[in-house]
Symmetry: C2
Subunit: 240 residues, 2 copies
């Protein structure tokens, strides 16, 4: 069983303010929990509806899990993990930069893509959704345990960078015509507004995904666009 | 102003049962509304918080729109459109097949991808989320006005098909090694369980996205996977 104050504490961690205050965040789902459990990230407490070998979870009823969960369909396990200590933000390394990405599902999927394509670091603008938001953790499917996410003033960050800076735009050079180097910065903008004006000025090359159909559609969802561009980069670097 | 019964009617259209009963669905957001408004899909009624040239919207207050909306942040316009009359399901044409895709955001993004890459038809299993669900309409960003979505018994549908059937799996032949013909069927499965066993048996070739990093991540989100595979197909067909 869990106490009322424990339940309250878990619910509070749905909000960024309390996650920052307590340096804790919630992980749910067997697969995602396992990825965090096996990572270097410290576990604080965990709850499950059944015993799991090798895990010291507090056993709770299904009904109790229903009260605790942030998911539509509660899983068998919920863990409270400690936010990893801040690392030094990497400069002049291959990074993905996100300028005010607001949807938790998108950030989660992008973290998963970074994990898949070997991008170890993501630099987010301060207004980008918090990576420890339960929905981000969930949609990253455990990849957040392996990819570093930093929050920076992007103008300040980019001013220190001396490697090529690519930005993704609706209008730009076709990504297929760009030869990506080993180290570069790749920027994606907000879902509705794209890369902000002040950040656009710091982009060296504007790139785009060429549309091969005659359809009236003018853009792709940010997750789709990230997937296509990262795959192109990965194919290029793998060939060379 | 709108009446209470109008408000109730709109809210009912959030549920598949009532959408089917009345053959109406909801469209929100200026861009998405414009795409539907300019398509062949018939409009039944529309509401907006300000006058728009060329549109016969009923003007409502912001507060009223807040009550009507299915969005977190209400837009300026909400339309009720008539579900298009059922067309004949295309057989032996290039189609995307979805086997029990459940997340509305994923289906919406996939419809947008189909629009971008020139896939005009999607065949969904009966259990796939309804394409007129407000969240699907929203995340398709107007592409639903241009892409046909059919709901079929997949086993029955695939038994009639005599063109190559590709299925996407975690284990399979690298998509880069497959030469895609002009007409084919491409199947994606459910977010958690992939393509069901009974449908797997009807697949001619199992394909996968090769992972080029050493990461522990074992799969991608279905939207990301669809984006990458469609881009590969489009690149191949464009070259040939």
């Amino acid at each position: 069983m869990i106490t009322n104050s424990e339940l309250k504490y878990i619910k509070k961690l749905g909000r960024k303010k309390y996650r920052n205050l307590h340096s804790h965040f919630i992980v749910e789902g067997e697969k995602v929990f396992k990825d965090f459990f096996e990572s270097n990230i410290q576990i604080f407490k965990s709850y499950s509806t059944k015993k799991v070998k090798g895990q010291k979870n507090i056993i709770v009823t299904d009904n109790c899990m229903k009260k605790m969960t942030f998911l539509k369909n509660p899983s068998n396990v919920l863990g409270i993990f400690s936010t990893p200590k801040e690392k030094i933000t990497p400069i002049n390394k291959k990074v993905l930069v996100l300028d005010d990405v607001s949807d938790p599902g998108n950030l989660g999927s992008i973290i998963r893509l970074c994990d898949w394509f070997g991008f170890k670091n993501i630099i987010c603008s301060k207004k980008t959704v918090d990576c420890y938001n339960p929905k981000v953790v969930q949609s990253s499917m455990g990849s957040l345990a392996r990819v570093n996410v930093f929050y920076e003033d992007l103008k300040c960050y980019l001013s220190k960078v001396s490697i090529p800076v690519y930005g993704t735009f609706l209008q730009g050079e076709s990504m297929n015509k760009v030869k990506f180097p080993n180290e570069f910065v790749l920027i994606f903008g907000n879902e509705s507004n794209g890369i902000s004006k002040s950040i656009s000025k710091l982009v060296n090359r504007k790139i785009t995904i060429p549309k091969k159909s005659k359809s009236l559609v003018d853009s792709l969802n940010i997750t789709s666009a990230t997937a296509i561009i990262m795959n192109e980069i990965s194919t290029q670097l793998f060939k060379s």
